[in-house]
Amino acid sequence: MTETRTDATLTRTGRRGSRGPVNRDEVLLEIKDLRVTFQRRGGPATAAVDGVSFSVKPGEIVGVVGESGSGKSVTSMAVMGLLPQRGSKVTGEVLYRGENLLTMGQRQLADLRGSELAMVFQDPMSSLNPVIPVGLQVTEVLRRHQDISREDARVEAEDLLRRCGIPDPRRRLSEYPHQLSGGMRQRALIAIALACKPALLICDEPTTALDVTIQAQVLELLKELVNDLGTAMVMITHDLGVVAGLCDSVNVMYAGRIVEAAGRRELFAHPRHRYTEGLLNSIPRLDAPRGEPLQPIPGTPRDTIAWSKACAFAPRCLHADDECVVGDLPLVQLGRVNHPVRCVHPAPEEEPHG
């Protein structure tokens, strides 16, 4: 275990600092056929994540997009090993530098968490401990993973907060979360996540709880920091605007499965799945004629069918017919490279979007 840790640290130091010398063929995180089912005692099992596979290369920013309940947060929790042990069942593989996180020992996983793998959570209001000074919440992760004295950790924490755009960081260290604004708290959480310069950062809707103006600032900060550190990022969001400004590639999830995956430009230029198309159509556009109503996707994510019998999106899809409800649909490459889609009647390739 010690040997692998040293190796990992070496490789990481090798490419730290800038995003330049990243080996794009190497795979940092590979999720293979991840399945998460929740079961209450006596109740039926529900699959929140149903066979998800994607990979993240070093330094890459991968988006996971979907509505509430599509399984995107559960995917990230499963990767970090943060799902409750009881009542949830996780199968498949999550390979981090070739090692399966799902079968790894708790201690070994804890060694990686916070140092190699880090996470920024959705709600900055509740994700910081209210009864402990912000400073301690930053230094505790430094002291957990680095051989560093209390004083050095404090200096480092002050520097981290400053780099995350928190004014007067020295004073903030001794303050409590309730004395910080929502944006400041999210910045503090980002500082905590990036404290040990992780190789992979998972952001679970980091801007959802924030003011719109603060959202943009926080995203800009994240982009800048991961770029500086060479950290790869998985950005989980329901906001296609976030994806457009940030991600290298995008996975669109619906009802626990990936329904379309593509590079960012490819996805926005040629969305093929009808769900992706619907998402893009429902974005308000500045260049649209005045007074034109938005086109929402009808129904709610609850109107669904089990994937084993049909396309789960069929009940809400404008193009659905009998062919969509005959059986399990595979994720298939449609014409173009690296653009798998799970759809019987995909949008035509030529149709220019917007």
């Binding site: 943060l82 804890a110 916070g114 910081l128 209210p130 402990i132 992760v141 957990r144 409590y176 905590i192």
Partner: protein, 346 residues
Amino acid sequence: MLRFAVRRILLMVPVLFGLSVLLFAWLRALPGDPARALLGEKATPASIAQVNATYGFDQPLLQQYLTYTGRLLHGDFGSSPRTGEPVLGTFLDRFPATVELAVAAMIFAITVGIPVGYFAAKRAGGLLDTIAVSGSLLGVVVPVFVLAYLLKIVFAIGLPGQVFGFSLADLAFLPSSGRQDPRIDATHVTNFYVLDGLLTREWDAAWDALIHLILPAIALGSIPLAIIVRMTRASVIDVLNEDYVRTAAAKGLAPSLITRRHVLRNAMLPVVTVIGLQTGALLSGAVLTESVFAFNGIGSYLFDAISGLDFAVLQGFILFIALVYALVNLVVDLLYGVIDPRLRTK
């Protein structure tokens, strides 16, 4: 924080004044005649008149109240017509026993209750949890004096018979009553017997007082224990689901550190409230436990005072108890601020 404490202490003055008025009126409204209660059935009208004159029971109520308050302000709490003992002296004599017992009972309830509640919450629905939840229900339901007698019979008096060749009488290794073995010639400074033993370096006296506390403390602590177990369990279950505990896990922190720093501190707030309320309640005396173990605290004395319509003792004791209760609550409020910075007063 200091200003807050001072303000709260000053606020106690009007509260205690109001209480003294209410108490005075209340006690006078009780059915029965204090002089008759004092003299018994064979009282003659002449002796009753004499007692009434001595203690001023023949004066108008307002006059009686003013006289009482006037003496109170000079620190004179009067003396009991029943025993002739001064109220203040008796209280100072007996209250340490009650405090000792209450503190021992709370130490037992807290040191057992918080860990049991915590582990029950950690494995909610598991075996320990089921035992803890049903056991705590039992703790509340079983009357204190039943538990007190059971403990006394098993661990002090001794049951006859043998189980697996082991004599049940051997279990009875604890003293059955009192606060200290009278054969020990202990010096008493503060009337807190354990403390006295430590202060005077009479270790045997301290130890003896301590083992006399065990059974009464367990009997008296059973209800606070049950409440603390349930409160801790519920509170820890809540906190374990909090986002910041997940954040702590995402940092890779050791489980023991997460428990100490992130779970327990947050879970303690409601538990501290309960501990404060229970401590206050125990300090007002435990009539049943005190009588079973012949533990001379204020509980049994108050009980006798009520039966004897002993106004002076009742007024004095209840005022002291109210004062102590208010102080305990102040300590709890200050503790809130220590635990939760959001509640700190500027």
